[in-house]
């Protein structure tokens, strides 16, 4: 019995060693790109949509520098701690040369320092909080940032909806929502010239389900519009409760509202909700957008969304940098990435500034008959 067990142990060791040998030998035969996205948890829809876009891009462009590309996905479970662990795992275990991710600014902000310390470049698809790339020369992104997004919605509320007062309900557990709420507040008070134009400001936490107390407080302040930055499921439940409490004013939000779950959960209650996002299939901006829309529709049989488009662009941005670097050395890829100029992506022309951020236009969408319809395109100044 004991001999048997020893034999088994020895055999297991042998298998393990040979497995290690195989992975070591494979190292030169492929380019490994890591992806960390929320595939489960409160932001699962965003991560899954992004990953669809990445997969589509990989099918279109499966090789770089004459080597096949392998995309390695790690789920960060919408959790800040898991997110840092996911990046560590991609770098140490999977030995990736570049990383794509993550939906959710807070998730990116916890993964960023890990990648920076290991000197592996990261291309963010949709984290919009300015702090994601600030002070981190290994983090880049294909999207605009929240000072712009907050201004877009404030301007939309002020000019298009004629709002002179607004209430804000933010998800206090998310850097994305807290940042966006503040940028909206800044821009809106600036436009109205009235420091008291934000008549109510309150919070909830990701995953809360009862918002009646906050909404009663907001209803009492009688704002012209309510700005409620937060993730799609929470926002849909919040707006549903707002309608049943008799709040009739327009609700506004940011890019995280864009998920099929938002209209599924919210149903009729979210009709007429306005939100800003990165891209709309109704307003193709480059030849690449049209190609992307056609490819996406052929593969998934539905109209594409912002996050798939950004995932698609990020994959191509990373491959573009690898090509220009001419090697799979992470530092060389980082240097090439920083020099990205006039990249023609599905979501627009991408030029990265000194911070590693892209300057792009935003679109404002409205929920009409359960679908997202384009109402406005706002270009950066």
């Amino acid at each position: 019995m004991r001999l048997h067990r020893r034999l088994m142990t020895a055999l297991l060791c042998l298998i393990l060693v040979s497995l290690c040998g195989i992975t070591a030998a494979q190292r030169e035969t492929e380019i490994r790109i890591g992806v960390y996205e929320p595939m489960t948890g409160a932001m699962a829809a965003g991560g899954q949509m992004t990953y669809e876009g990445i997969q589509l891009a990989q099918e279109q462009r499966p090789t770089v520098l004459g080597l096949p590309v392998r995309v390695i996905l790690v789920d960060n479970r919408s959790d800040k701690v898991e997110s840092a662990t996911a990046v560590t795992r991609l770098i140490q275990k999977d030995k990736v040369c570049a990383i794509i991710g993550s939906y959710g600014s807070a998730l990116s902000m916890s993964g960023g320092p890990v990648a920076q310390a290991a000197k592996v470049p990261v291309m963010g698809c949709s984290p919009t909080n300015p702090l994601v790339t600030l002070g981190n020369d290994y983090y880049f992104r294909a999207c605009f940032i929240d000072p712009f997004q907050g201004r877009v919605m404030a301007q939309f509320a002020y000019e298009k909806l004629g709002a002179r007062t607004a209430a804000i309900i933010q998800d206090i557990a998310q850097d994305y929502a807290v940042g966006l709420a503040n940028f909206f507040k800044q821009a809106f008070t600036e436009m109205t010239g009235n420091p008291k134009s934000i008549v109510a400001f309150t919070s909830y936490q990701t995953g809360d389900r009862d918002y009646t107390a906050q909404l009663t407080y907001v209803a009492n302040a009688k704002p012209d519009v309510v700005f409620a930055p937060g993730y799609y499921a929470d926002a849909a439940v919040l707006i549903t409760q707002a309608r049943s409490l008799g709040l009739k004013m327009p609700f506004l939000g940011g890019d995280t509202f864009e998920a099929p779950e938002f209209t599924q959960i919210g149903g009729k209650n979210v009709e007429g909700v306005y939100f800003s996002t990165h891209y709309s299939a109704d307003a193709p901006v480059t030849p690449a957008s049209e190609k992307f829309v056609a490819l996406y529709k052929a593969k998934y049989k539905i109209a594409p969304n912002t996050f798939a488009a950004l995932g698609y662009d990020c994959y191509n941005l990373v491959l573009d940098a690898i090509e220009r670097a001419g090697s799979s050395n992470p530092v060389a890829i980082r240097d090439a990435m920083a020099k990205t100029r006039n990249f023609v992506g599905a979501t627009g022309i991408i030029t990265l500034d000194a911070n590693g951020d892209a300057t792009k236009s935003a679109v404002v969408l409205v929920v009409r008959d359960g679908e997202f319809k384009l109402v406005d395109v706002v270009h950066p100044r």
């Binding site: 929320p38 109510a200 909830y204 009862d210 009646t212 008799g246």
Partner: protein
């Protein structure tokens, strides 16, 4: 704060409190009989909402039948969990069963992720429960009356079962001492199975009400309601069914009023629940209605 807003907040508090109360009853019931904190209660609650969801969404059953099936299936699930995870540990130290409960909780949450997927699902909400009703400026939906009524009915029914029936007698006997109860001819295993069936059925009722109220369900949804109702049960005196209802209401009201009076602190309402737990443990460890701890020798 005007009267109207105060009343609206009262209504909000009743809705949330009765939901917590409903869930806390199941929690406290299992503890009362077994002296086991069933940490898997929140996950049983989560799975029950998926049973109801699949009944209406995939099998296209009328909601009444779907909800009923969900309650029955959840009761069965509770019995199976007890048999698989707790019964083998019946004679082990109590801490082993507690750890087993935590294990079951994690297992089910992750199994839920694998089977149901990470993205949220939309719970079917029959329009009848969503009918808006306005009473003197206070706006509620029909569900506002359904949940407290259901809580009251279940409270009475449970007290009847536990204190007036033979099964209840067996449960209470098992609560004191398994061996002595067995000697008296009580089928302890059966009494415990029934306890779990009832406890889980209550979780299912709570789950369905939760789904009707909030529309969204996901595999992680069991965690926080589970903790909140544990707090409510401890607050009211764990093991005491009326105490759980009281605890649930106080917690629900507390959370609503915290936000109503201090909207700037709205982000800290979970902290409020935990501070409440710490305070009650410091000041009155047996809870509001809990009697002095009966220590088994």
């Amino acid at each position: 704060m005007t009267m109207e807003i105060f009343l609206q907040n009262m209504a909000n508090g009743i809705t949330l409190g009765s939901l917590y109360a409903l869930l806390a009853i199941g929690y406290t019931m299992v503890y009362g009989i077994l002296r086991l904190i069933n940490f898997a209660h929140g996950e049983i609650f989560m799975i029950s909402t998926y049973f109801a969801f699949y009944g209406t969404a995939i099998f296209a059953l009328p909601w009444q039948i779907s909800f009923l099936i969900a309650i029955v299936l959840t009761a069965l699930l509770g019995v199976v969990i007890e048999r698989a995870a707790y019964r083998p540990l019946r004679d082990a130290p109590r801490i082993s069963a507690l750890i087993s409960a935590i294990g079951v909780s994690f297992l089910m949450a992750n199994l839920g992720l694998v089977i149901f997927g990470g993205r949220p699902k939309t719970f079917y909400r029959p329009p009848i429960f969503q009918t808006p009703i306005e009473l003197g400026g206070v706006r509620v939906v029909a569900l506002f009356f359904v949940i407290p009524a259901l809580t009251a009915i279940l409270l009475v029914a449970l007290n009847y079962i536990v204190y007036k029936t033979k099964t209840g007698l067996a449960m209470r006997a098992a609560q004191w001492d398994f061996d002595t109860a067995r000697l008296m001819g009580v089928d302890v295993d059966r009494a415990i199975s029934i306890t779990f069936a009832i406890g889980s059925a209550l979780a299912a009722v709570g789950g369905i009400m939760w789904g009707l109220r909030f529309a969204e369900i996901n595999p992680n949804m069991g965690l926080f309601p589970g903790l909140k109702c544990f707090i409510a049960a401890v607050f009211g005196g764990i093991g005491n069914i009326s105490g759980a209802v009281l605890g649930g209401f106080i917690l629900g009201f507390g959370e609503i009023m915290l936000v109503a009076f201090l909207p700037g602190l709205a982000g800290y309402r979970d902290a409020f629940a935990f501070i409440l737990l710490i305070l009650i443990l410091l000041v009155r460890p047996t809870g509001l209605l809990g009697d002095k701890q009966r220590v088994k020798i």
